[in-house]
């Protein structure tokens, strides 16, 4: 089973990378971009039996730093 884990900075946490991307977009002449936040997408291929608790623990222990980041787990299609 494919799992997608989206790791994003918490609201209010300054995102220097997002800011730099924003400036670069403006430099390219794109108008109307109000803000940019950069995050991570982590894809896992796991056994179909992998439970929500285990995925949650993976995020809390390693994949996200919950001091500054939020995470969202998205379950994909089960393997055929």
């Amino acid at each position: 089973m494919k799992i997608r884990i989206y790791v994003t900075l918490k609201n209010g946490v300054l995102d220097p990378q997002g800011k730099a991307i924003h400036h670069a977009l403006e430099g390219l002449g794109f108008e109307g971009v109000k803000g940019v936040r950069a995050g991570k997408l982590i894809e896992l291929e796991v056994d179909d039996s992998t439970g929500d608790d285990a995925l949650d623990e993976m995020c809390r222990k390693l994949l996200a730093n919950t001091v500054i980041e939020n995470y969202r787990i998205e379950r994909g299609e089960k393997a055929a």
Binding site: V13, L14, Q17, K61, L62, N65, V67, I68
Partner: protein
């Protein structure tokens, strides 16, 4: 001395410890699950452990040796984390907060002026509170952040050990180094081991090791 793949300040730090204490530090590879029988200090050096993959210090914090480091820290053994070592200790939750990308995006590599905020710890006993010292930084992810309650608690409990005198990386409240609750774990972004002899251009870092030698050695 804990050594991870990608550590690159371990030998400098070992040299500083050797110079000040005359003792030969044991270099302990990250795969070890046990520490030597007798030791007074654990040093977690700077560098780019595991290539800074995922987040700086995140992979190293999960390595086998860190379980032993945590146990030793819980027993009250002095633990010094510098630069990437600070990031590792924060990721391992031995210290609160997180080290984020520098607010100015750039890698900062230069001497910086610090204020010694707390001279009561084992690490800062040889400094005066309020004293200005100069120690170099070299980091990309040194922007210390924590929630306001944590920051207030750190300030209130005298756990801010060092503060930048001018903004370096966007750190909340100019924090350059913090202590854990018990005061036996210090994490700091500046490199005291790079200021221990006259040829370094200053010796302000040397007193950190001298203070440690007096208090824990």
């Amino acid at each position: 001395m804990i050594v991870f793949p990608g550590s690159n300040c371990d030998r400098d730090m070992a040299e500083a410890i050797r110079l000040v204490s005359g003792a030969e530090p044991a270099m302990v590879w990250h795969r070890e699950s046990a520490l030597p029988d007798r030791f007074d200090l654990i040093a977690v050096p700077g560098g780019f452990s595991y290539g800074d993959y995922l987040r700086s210090g995140a992979m190293a914090a999960q390595s086998p040796v860190m379980r032993a480091v945590k146990e030793a820290a819980d027993r009250g053994v002095a633990v010094l984390g510098v630069c990437n070592g600070f990031q590792v200790l924060a990721e391992a939750r031995l210290l609160p907060g997180a080290l984020m990308r520098n607010a100015g995006i750039r890698f900062v590599c230069r001497d910086v002026a610090l204020t010694v905020e707390n001279s009561q710890s084992a690490f800062t006993a040889r400094y005066q509170a309020g004293e200005e010292i100069v120690i170099p930084v070299a980091h990309h992810d040194g922007n210390y952040q924590a929630d306001p309650e944590t920051l207030d608690r750190l300030e209130g409990e005298g756990r801010v050990a060092f503060r930048y005198r001018a903004d370096v990386n966007g750190s909340a409240r100019g924090i350059a180094g913090i202590l854990n609750e018990a005061g036996n774990v210090l994490g700091m972004m500046p490199h005291p081991e790079r200021m221990v002899e006259a040829a370094h251009g200053g010796q302000d870092g040397r007193r950190l090791f001298e203070g440690l030698l007096e208090t824990v050695g």
